[in-house]
Amino acid sequence: MVYPAIIECERETPMSEMSENGGGYGRRGLLKCMAWAGTGVVWTVSGGVPRSAVLGGSARAAEMPSGELTFMQISDSHIGFANAPNMDTPGTLREAIAEVNRLKGNASLMIHTGDVSHLSRAQQFDTAEQIIRGAGLDTHYVPGEHDVLDENGKAFFERFTKGASKGYYSFDQQGVHFIGLNNVQDLKAGGLGNLGHEQLEWLEDDLKGRSASQPIVVFAHVPLWTVYAEWGWGTDDGAQALSYLKRFGSVTVLNGHIHQILQKMEGHVAFHTARSTAFPQPAPGTAPSPGPMKSVPPGQLRSLLGVTSVAQVRTHSPLAIVDTTLSA
């Protein structure tokens, strides 16, 4: 059985242990797993159980098992933002891409989970695209809410999701099925992220007939599960999307939006949110609002920004066993 794998830095500190200072990560955490930009974050899911390895320290992309699919994720570049704690988002994006180049090994592609720009301006899209091209990787984008401020996102879709005028699409790569979703449009007052009826129907259709053993990677901007409803960190109809994915033996959900790493396993589904390349946001409920963390001590900004590497690992562990009853 082949699993998509994301290897996580072991130092990941549980939310409850985060300190107020230093952007919320304890000093011990910082020392254990920070190369530049804080992270290469890579998980291994073997037998459905995540294992972790330090990337950027002892491990490098070259040590990753070869021959399997690997890919990179960046998120929330917010080109156009220039305020505390980051006056130079193009600069930190450039550093992130340099890190991608260092870590990518034989990565096949990269995904960007949205908020490419800060205000959906053409100039900002231009700058981002140029810098991201520096990774030399085929890059697949999904929009963040900051990317669809003008004309319902027309400019973003034309540039970043060619052929998918609504910002959602799917493709296959080395046997893994990738699904990019758009959950940042038609947002309702008091609501969270939103996929909408049409997109859900498309998703159900897209998954129909696929073998349950095909690894699936779903990527969207806002977390598909409810991280913290009070701050809008969730997707109103995310549960319905996840219900279509339930029968698959290996599902990986990659999101952005919250500018910090959170992850969980639920059955065969691994959820992971990425760091931003622009600025960190506070852990749920630890601040009056989810805005940028302004009081990051000098020199520590980069330890709170990062990139993600994802690798598919063919494991020697037990096969993924998916049980169904005759009455299912």
Binding site: N83, A84, H118, L119, S120, E145, H146, L149, L187, K188, A189, G190, G191, L192, A229, E230, W231, G232, P288, S289, P290, G291, P292, K294
Partner: protein, 119 residues
């Protein structure tokens, strides 16, 4: 303010004149209020005040004091009122001509909500 107590010895007619004068002034006051401005501040992902009551014909101006952009959109009918993205320091003004209750929200952060009550 209007005394309705009839004092012994005072003519009723004089009391009525007082009332008429006061009413005329009140009418004048109302006209002034109609041309009024009202202000809402956006800070820390919150509209302040969250609920505001104004007379019909008031122009309400939102000012974004937050360091993240916000949008002001009519919650019931997004076409009726939709601001451009407001960066820090940007303002958006809207004239509320008709009485009614107008809930609105931030299209970027939909959990941010407010109401303009127009009398």
């Amino acid at each position: 303010m209007l005394s309705s107590v009839r004092r012994p010895g005072r003519s009723h007619w004089r009391g009525s004149l007082l009332v008429a004068v006061v009413l005329l002034s009140a009418g004048g006051f109302l006209r002034t209020v109609n041309a009024q401005e009202a202000a809402i501040s956006i800070d820390n992902f919150t509209f302040k005040p969250a609920e505001i009551t104004v007379w019909a014909g008031t122009r309400v101006t939102w000012t974004n004091r937050d360091d993240i952009p916000h949008l002001v959109v009519d919650a019931k009918d997004p076409g009726a009122m939709k601001s451009p993205p407001l960066d820090t320091g940007d303002k958006f003004a809207f004239l509320f001509a008709k009485p009614g209750t107008y809930p609105y929200f931030c299209a970027l952060h939909p959990h941010m909500q407010g109401t303009v009550v127009v009398k």
